[in-house]
């Protein structure tokens, strides 16, 4: 009975505290970018601090035994324990997910769920201007993926060298090709769209694991496998394993 009343009274505030402690910690350690677009950082942290003050005021001023209005006394029924049990479960899940689980990016499992390079705007919104003077060394995964999708011909790519960083995801049909992959995020991880640049490297499965981060430097060639969906690929001179960058998503 005591547990039920305590849970009923405080679960909202406690869940708020869990959420805002996690938010502020993510903000302080620079990991909010794993979940939301940087434009929300300030708003998110400010609201978390305001909510923290309100929660503390609630602890100080809201009577803990009864709230003076006489509700919170639900009639005891056979299924009455379900509600507090559900609340305790929710709190436990929140602690587990927000406070114990190490923060993490999306993985190749989501790449498989969402069509790689299937998203038009993730690719074309920032498609670089095709001038001969463009500084190709600064081109990102997104820029190259956009160019490849835009249908620029083999002549265009012939003399270009790309240096791209991303995690490895497998091509669904061509065993010899993997993608250097990044997620494009518009708002939060929920809307992340995978994009990637194809790399031709037979037997890559034996050397690298999917989801591991690499930097690939190479020129573009025609895919030796003519049946492949990817006609122009990187055929790398070097593949360097690397660590996950500070900002794993691109915007």
């Amino acid at each position: 009975m005591v547990v039920r009343r305590l849970v009923g009274r405080w679960q909202g505030v406690v869940l708020s505290l869990i959420g805002l402690v996690a938010t502020i910690w993510l903000g302080l350690t620079g990991q909010l970018a794993l979940y939301i677009h940087p434009r929300y950082f300030v708003f998110t942290v400010v609201m978390a601090v305001i909510a923290g003050v309100l929660a503390l005021v609630s602890f100080a001023l809201v009577p803990s035994t009864h709230d003076g209005h006489g509700h919170g006394h639900e009639p005891a029924s056979r299924w009455g324990w379900l509600l507090p049990a559900g609340s305790v479960l929710t709190i436990a899940a929140a602690v587990g997910a927000l406070l114990i689980l190490p923060p993490s990016t999306l993985t190749t499992s989501t790449v498989a769920q969402r069509d790689l390079n299937g998203s038009a705007s993730a690719l074309t919104l920032k498609a670089p201007a095709l001038t001969s003077k463009a500084d190709y060394s600064a081109f990102t995964v997104r820029d190259w993926a956009s160019l490849l999708r835009s249908g620029a011909g083999q002549d265009f790519f012939a003399d270009k060298t790309a240096t791209v960083t991303g995690f490895i995801s497998a091509d669904k049909t061509d065993r010899d090709v993997f993608f250097v992959t990044r997620f494009v995020v518009a708002c939060c991880a929920v809307d992340a769209q995978p994009i990637g640049v194809p790399v031709y490297h037979p037997g890559w499965q034996n050397e690298y694991k999917t989801d591991s981060w690499v930097t690939v430097t190479s020129g573009f060639r025609a895919n030796p496998n003519a049946a492949s969906r990817e006609t122009i690929v990187l055929v790398p001179d070097s593949i360097k394993p690397t660590t996950q960058p500070e900002q794993p998503y691109v915007y």
Binding site: G8, R9, Q11, G12, V13, S16, L17, G19, V21, A22, T23, W25, L26, Y35, I36, V46, M47, A48, I50, A51, L54, A55, L56, V57, S58, F59, A60, L61, V62, G68, T90, A93, V95, A97, L98, I100, L101, P102, P103, S104, T105, T107, T108, S109, T110, Q113, R114, D115, G118, S119, A120, S121, A122, A186, C187, C188, A189, V190, D191, D211
Partner: protein
């Protein structure tokens, strides 16, 4: 607005009646404060001491992504829900009695028209609108009017309109269909439920109880104390719903392959239905859903996009969980079907009408 509140209150407090306030800080308040600070310290300690690399827990990728997606929904929605609660407290406790509602026109039709434009002044995401709508109902807004507000505000919202215009431009009909369609559907829902003989039955018993309490506010308690009570009461309703809704949204994302939905997008009929399902599943904020769906723009029929942009802000997994705090399951089912039907008709009209 919110930041200034405590300052005003401190000035007013000494003139008001009894009740615990900062002047006479009871030992019990101090104890409560200590409990609160201890909890924060405990949570922070757990967070700092927990393993920091994903490799430490050998979770399969799908489980990791389920967690990441659910956490992302929580982290993204939480500030908006807090903002909604703060606005709701402001309306109920700090605004002069009836200042907002008394100025509304008398005629129910006009009242709903004005209410659907309220979102223009309060650019909050749809999840923040739920606590605000609850506050307005407690202050005397009818149930039907609250529905009109809930459904119109996320669409008739300056941020949403600007992002939709950025994504699709002003002149291809998508923006106009979204804004006018959303406006019409919200008012239609309000009109239909305005004819309900016993509107109280649409609400959950628990929320009705909250409303009756709000009608007789304990004037003895100071404003800060009432604000604190409302914060605890609103978070009690909203937070479990938000966490459960986020969990469901994450689970569905991992389970339902998006490619299937996307594949249906180029058919005039199926694009509308598939994109409405997508909107229901992704539960994305109305402020940015235009950018999200633009990413599929090349493959989808415009009617499907309009249906997505109209249906998504009104009904989705997360919103249903949040609205369940206020409306009965039966009401929500009716609302979902009604809104889905309207959005589908609108989308099909756009597809076949050109």
């Amino acid at each position: 607005m919110t930041v200034a509140l405590p300052a005003v209150d401190k000035r007013e407090q000494p003139d008001r009646g009894s009740g615990s306030r900062f002047g006479g800080f009871a030992p019990r308040s101090a104890a409560g404060l200590v409990v609160g600070l201890a909890l924060i310290a405990l949570f922070a300690a757990v967070r700092v001491l927990a393993p920091s690399t994903p490799a430490a827990l050998a979770l399969p990728n799908a489980a990791r992504d389920f967690a990441t997606l659910s956490i992302s929904v929580v982290v993204e929605s939480l500030p908006f829900v807090f903002l909604g609660i703060v606005l709701s407290i402001a309306v109920q406790v700090w605004l002069p009695e009836g200042m907002l509602l008394r100025r509304l026109p008398r005629s129910p039709l006009l009242r709903r028209l004005v209410l659907s434009l309220l979102g223009m002044l309060l650019p909050v995401c749809e999840c923040g609108n739920v606590p605000l709508a609850r506050g307005l109902v407690a202050k005397g807004l009818t149930v039907a009017e609250s529905m009109t507000f809930l459904f119109a505000a996320p669409i008739l919202n300056p941020v949403t309109i600007v992002t939709t215009a950025q994504a699709f431009g002003w002149d291809n009909g998508i923006l106009a269909s979204r804004v006018l369609g959303g406006f019409f559907i919200a008012n239609l829902v309000g009109w239909i439920y305005g004819r309900h003989p016993r509107p109280g039955e649409l609400l959950t018993a628990r929320f009705q109880e909250t409303c009756t309490l709000a009608e007789h506010p304990s004037r003895s308690a100071g404003r800060i104390k009432r604000s604190a009570q409302m914060f605890s009461q609103e978070t009690r309703a909203m937070m479990p719903a938000l966490f459960v809704g986020a969990g469901m949204a994450g689970l569905i994302q991992v389970a339902v392959s998006r490619e299937v939905l996307v594949a249906l997008g180029s058919n005039p009929l199926w694009s509308v239905l598939a994109l409405m399902l997508l909107a229901f599943v992704v539960a994305i904020c109305s402020n940015v859903d235009a950018f999200f769906i633009l990413s599929f723009g090349a493959t989808f029929m415009p009617g499907g996009i309009v249906a997505f942009l109209v249906f998504g802000p009104m009904i989705d997994v997360k919103m249903l969980a949040l609205m369940r705090t206020t409306f009965t399951a039966k009401t929500l089912l009716q609302l979902s079907l009604l809104v889905a039907l309207c959005a589908a008709v609108l989308g099909l009209a756009v597809n076949y009408g050109r």
